[in-house]
């Protein structure tokens, strides 16, 4: 089967004043093209470290990451990111439009192509007509939508999201989750997301990767066998949803043994 991202025996340690600290131990996993994968685990387990390795911002101390068959030593082409802290990843001195078209500078696109790409992306996230606003004039949820629009405007092959909805209120969070499902339906971008919210992980994903232990390893890859489309009311009331979230929860809390050797 073809894979988009292959994580092979990735290990990571940091040298600290208190000696060597092992964070990741032989993490291996392959992502199927077009899949949405959530990475969960207890807090401090190394989820974000793994994500940074996948973006190419950090080099692992052992093992390798291949994107479409090529080992990466920096951010791969076609990568887009959505981070938890939108106030820090958007530029307050640029309008929404300029924030979104900044990553398009490297692509050979005419001005009118760029303009229509920005408008399309804003329409996709439901923010038509906000081009000339500044990020700080928008609500938190809207700012995160801008960050998602910026990601979509680059037509990415790979979308990486680090706790993207952790800084917004619960209602906005549900809205953004449904926005992500719509983006998945419309674009089918291979997506990796770190989250500490297990319900969210199960609700959005094809597969949930559970990291566990110190140093962390892949405890189990849970396949979410719930069909699409999903909805906040029906999916979350599905008995299978309850089973899966309970299983993932037990794995994250270290209460259950994995179903099979992962």
């Amino acid at each position: 089967m073809s894979t988009d991202i292959t994580i092979s025996n990735v290990s990571m340690f940091f040298d600290t004043p208190n000696g060597r600290k092992d964070v990741l131990d032989n993490v291996s996993y392959s992502v199927t093209p077009g899949h949405f994968v959530a990475i969960v685990g207890p807090s401090g387990v190394g989820k974000t470290t793994l994500l940074r390795i996948l973006t190419g911002l950090t080099q692992p101390t052992g093992g390798s990451v291949e994107v479409r068959g090529k080992a990466i030593d920096g951010p791969p082409d076609g990568l887009a990111v959505v981070l938890q802290d939108y106030t820090r990843s958007l530029m307050p001195w640029l309008t929404v439009e300029k924030n979104i078209n900044l990553p398009l500078r490297n692509k050979k696109m005419t001005k009118s192509e760029v303009r229509s790409r920005v408008a399309e992306s804003l329409a996709e996230v439901g923010l038509e007509g906000t081009e000339k606003s500044y990020p700080w004039q928008l609500s938190g949820g809207m700012q995160q939508r801008v960050a998602i629009a910026r990601a979509l405007a680059t037509r990415p092959d790979l979308l990486i999201m680090d706790e993207p909805f952790a800084s917004v209120d619960a209602q906005t969070r549900f809205d953004l989750e449904d926005l992500v499902l719509k983006v998945r339906k419309d674009f089918g971008i291979t997506t990796l997301m770190v989250t500490h919210d297990i319900d969210e992980a199960v609700y959005l994903s094809d597969e949930v990767v559970v990291l566990y232990g110190k140093p962390a390893h892949v405890r189990e890859v849970v396949t979410v066998d719930i069909g699409f489309p999903r909805s906040q009311i029906e999916t979350r009331n599905d008995p299978r949803f309850a089973e899966l979230r309970t299983h993932v929860y037990s794995l994250v809390r270290g209460l259950a043994e994995p179903n099979e050797a992962a």
Binding site: P75, L79, V81, D85, S89, W93, L102, R105, N106, I160
Partner: protein, 258 residues
């Protein structure tokens, strides 16, 4: 809508300021005419006012005022033109930052008065001396301030840009320079006020031309009302400079709540 709000608050702010000014003038007048400063040679409000009117109607005064403004402005502009690009460059390179920071900090803390004797020896009591003093006082602190701003660019923002394949030049232009702008603005504001002070000190202590020298001469000849009138003019000048720079800052760094 925003400008309306600030205009309204400005109107509301004015009366308290006016009250405190009137009160201060009244206390001054009372202290110098009735007591406890009545026996000293400190001029009263009325005497100072008369001297002020005399000053404002003499052409000599405007020549001196212009000399002070010239020294302050030329020194300020030269210092900014040197310090901001230098600060950006040393802020961009960790090595350059580490190797210059100590030296710049060293020069930064030398008060301008200390080097006046040396500067007088080289340049004499001239406008050039005043300008040099202004530049020397501002340039090191401003370069460090700019460098700090460039270095303070948000790591999350820079990493986001890297993920999107934006290179060093884009990171400088779209992240590091805008991040430095508030630092530069604060530096510019403090520098503008300091430039005026140093231009006056250059005259007062070093004998450079301008209103500083006017004070020096008025003091030497015991003309206290004239001294006070000149000090008053310098106070007004200082307020105007600081207001103007604050106004500019609000307009250029619109994304920061002031």
């Amino acid at each position: 809508m925003l400008s309306n709000g600030s205009r309204a608050s400005r109107v509301r702010r004015l009366p308290p300021a006016a009250i405190s000014v009137v009160l201060a003038l009244a206390l001054w007048q009372l202290a110098t005419s009735v007591g406890p400063l009545a026996d000293l040679s400190i001029p009263s409000v009325v005497e100072t006012g008369q001297a002020l009117i005399a000053e404002l109607s003499s052409s000599e005064f405007y020549v001196r005022l212009w000399e002070t403004i010239q020294m302050a402005v030329v020194g300020f502009v030269v210092a900014m033109a040197l310090a901001i690009p230098a600060g950006i460059l040393i802020g961009l390179s960790r090595f350059a930052w580490r190797s210059t920071k100590f030296t710049f900090d060293f020069f930064k803390v030398i008060p301008p008065i200390v080097i006046i004797p040396i500067v007088i020896l080289v340049l004499g009591p001239t406008m050039q001396m005043g300008i040099f003093l202004v530049v020397f006082t501002l340039v090191f602190a401003m370069a460090i301030q700019t460098g700090l701003g460039v270095r303070d660019a948000d790591a999350v923002l820079l990493e986001t840009m890297r993920c999107y394949g934006l290179g060093t030049w884009s990171q400088i232009r779209y992240a590091r320079l805008p991040s430095a702008a508030p630092y530069i603005a604060v530096g510019v504001r403090l520098s503008a006020s300091a430039a005026l002070v140093v231009a006056i000190v250059a005259g007062l202590i070093g004998g450079a031309p301008g209103l500083g020298k006017t004070i020096l001469l008025a003091q030497a000849s015991g003309d206290d009302p004239r001294t006070f009138a000149t000090v008053f003019v310098l106070g007004v000048l200082g307020i105007l400079v600081s207001r103007a720079v604050t106004w500019l800052q609000r307009r250029s760094i619109f994304w920061m709540p002031s």
